[in-house]
């Protein structure tokens, strides 16, 4: 059954890939007969705002201060944030396993990013057309030319600061996937997977969306993704589902109780994520400007309504609002508002949070139970589903008065025009396709080489002792 499910996902992935190849073509045709209104833009001036003016921009100390802090906040999201959020949800015997995954990613992904990742994602040496639209080149390997004085990207912060800020995203994204294979994946396999996944899945998608010459970053296919709804959450969530299915269920899943061993950690982690997310979302403005403020407010309000929605649904359905529900709702809201943060009004952000709380609740309870896969900590249910919802809703709610960019108009502002929604779907679909195909190949490969899963005995003993030779708590 496992293989069957995987096969279906792969087919879906390939379909999406094809679709996303078609979609652009369709939209490129100025005579498009569908409802989509296509701005008649010559390819040459795809990113009209970028080319020459920005080079004149000066480095601003206020912006630099804000981005230094934002970088620190995003790191704090991975640890202690995510490590506690996830760590509290596993059984006691696996708590260190989760924490080790986080700190190991802080080590290994940082090095990878500095050595080749940043180049693959943000280098523009492959040119603004052709290949350069789909991946970065090797021009910035080993951070060559990425200095503290220059602002080649026309930003008001040093390139090196942009690099390290983006590094923090490169760390947390694979970290999110850990929620799916928690309590059973081999440490070595996990490291290998994350490095390869970061290289072959994350870097290209980041390039598409965020590099000045990415094919989703401007032009006809412009897919809005302010802080990584697609780049971070959707693709990690989708990979998470694949991992959960390909690794199989935890031993005893469905028979033994596997309640969270420390919900107080989950709470601490969730609230640290909330705080850190201000760096993630408001920081994505890359300046301490009005857009950053909008993103900050949107982030907070979506988290707030997400919290209320999930906990409220539980209150209705099982009679009691739970703290796990409240925390999950907060994270769901945060995930969903991520692609939208700098583009939407506070009111819209509240709606986004409500939708996120509802759909993720549904995904983590009903859907998961129905399909029976063991996404241990709901990486897919929260990040995959929330990221996807966010991608689409950004196309609905984006408001150009918030971003100050007239191209960034969602359906509602654009008199019902589905153009941006479709672009969002195309972007998300393409990312999904690459992710599913890529992750599938990588998992198969790693399974063949080192094996994905610990042995039964090791799993029963717990990852803490079997993988790391330590115990989390020695309370006597």
């Amino acid at each position: 059954m496992k293989t069957q499910v995987c096969a279906r996902l792969i087919v879906a992935g390939l379909l999406l890939l094809v679709m996303s190849d078609l979609a652009p073509a369709q939209e490129n045709s100025p005579e498009g007969t569908n409802a989509v209104s296509v701005p008649i833009a010559a390819p040459a001036i795809e990113s009209p705002a970028v080319p020459s003016v920005p080079l004149a921009k000066q480095i601003d100390k206020g912006d630099t201060a804000w981005m230094l802090v934002s970088s620190a906040l995003v790191l704090m999201m991975t640890a202690p944030g995510l490590a506690l959020f996830y760590g509290g949800l596993v059984r006691k015997k696996n708590i260190l396993g989760v924490m080790m995954q986080c700190i190991a990613l802080m080590g290994v992904m940082s090095v990878v990013w500095a050595v080749w990742g940043y180049s693959l994602a943000f280098d523009k040496s492959l040119g603004e057309t052709g290949m350069g639209r789909f991946c970065g080149g090797f021009g910035l390997l080993m951070l060559k030319g990425v200095g503290a004085g220059n602002t080649v990207n026309g930003k008001t912060i040093p390139d090196l600061l942009h690099m390290v800020y983006q590094m923090m995203f490169f760390i947390i994204t694979p970290g999110l996937i850990c929620g799916a294979f928690a309590e059973r994946m081999k440490f070595s396999a996990m490291l290998l997977f994350c490095v390869l996944w970061g290289t072959f899945v994350y870097c290209p998608v980041a390039h598409w969306v965020w590099a000045a010459d990415g094919w989703l970053a401007s032009g006809d296919h412009l897919a809005l993704d302010f802080a990584g709804g697609t780049v971070v959450h959707l693709i990690s969530g989708a990979s998470a589902l694949l991992c959960a299915i390909m690794l199989g269920k935890r031993l005893g899943f469905g028979q033994e109780p596997m309640p969270p061993h420390n919900l107080t950690y989950t709470f601490i982690g969730a609230t640290m994520l909330w705080v850190g997310w201000f760096g993630f979302n408001a920081g994505s403005a890359l300046e301490a400007n009005g857009q950053a403020v909008y993103a900050f407010v949107a982030t907070h309000l979506a988290a707030a309504t997400g919290t209320l929605t999930w906990a409220g649904l539980e209150w209705l359905k099982r009679g009691k609002p739970s703290i796990l529900g409240a925390c999950s709702g907060a994270v769901a809201g945060l995930v969903c508002v991520t692609p939208a943060a700098g583009f939407v009004t506070p009111e819209s952000a509240m709606i986004l949070g409500v939708v996120a709380g509802a759909v993720c609740y549904f995904a983590c309870t009903t859907i998961k139970l129905k399909f029976g896969y063991d996404d241990s900590l709901d990486a897919f249910g929260v990040h995959g589903v929330g990221g996807f919802a966010g991608a689409i809703l950004t196309g609905v709610f984006a408001n150009s008065t918030v971003s100050g960019n007239d191209d960034y108009k969602g359906m509602l502002q654009d008199s019902g025009n589905l153009h941006q929604v479709i672009n969002q779907l195309v972007g998300a679909g393409a990312a999904l396709a690459l992710t599913l195909v890529g992750s599938f190949i990588l998992l198969k490969l790693i399974d063949a080489v080192v094996g994905l899963r610990v042995t039964q005995d090791e799993e029963i003993q717990g990852l803490d002792l079997s993988q790391h030779g330590e115990e989390g708590y020695i309370f006597y």
Binding site: P259, E314, G325, C364, T365, T366
Partner: protein, 112 residues
Amino acid sequence: MKKIEAIIRHYKLEEVKNALTETGIQGMTVCEVRGFGRQRGHKETYRGAEYTVDFLPKVKLEVVVDDGDLQKAIDTITSHARTGQIGDGKIFVSTLDEVIRIRTGEQGGGAV
């Protein structure tokens, strides 16, 4: 010598301890346990996964007494641990062959 094992509610421990001390009993040992009898646990739901938690937290009190003090001890525990609701707990009594005080090596009644 007899060993009394009483499984009681947490919030009754202080009261029972004081009552026993007043009857002249000079030592006891407690241990955290979980259990169920007539009183069964509750349901917990974690993101859709529902668990029936049968075991409830209780405290197990162990008191070793001379045979002569047994009844008094049992009565004291029973009366102070009782609320009348299910879940009040049980008392188990067994016989010990020997008691030794480690510090002095004393054995038998004097060691209690």
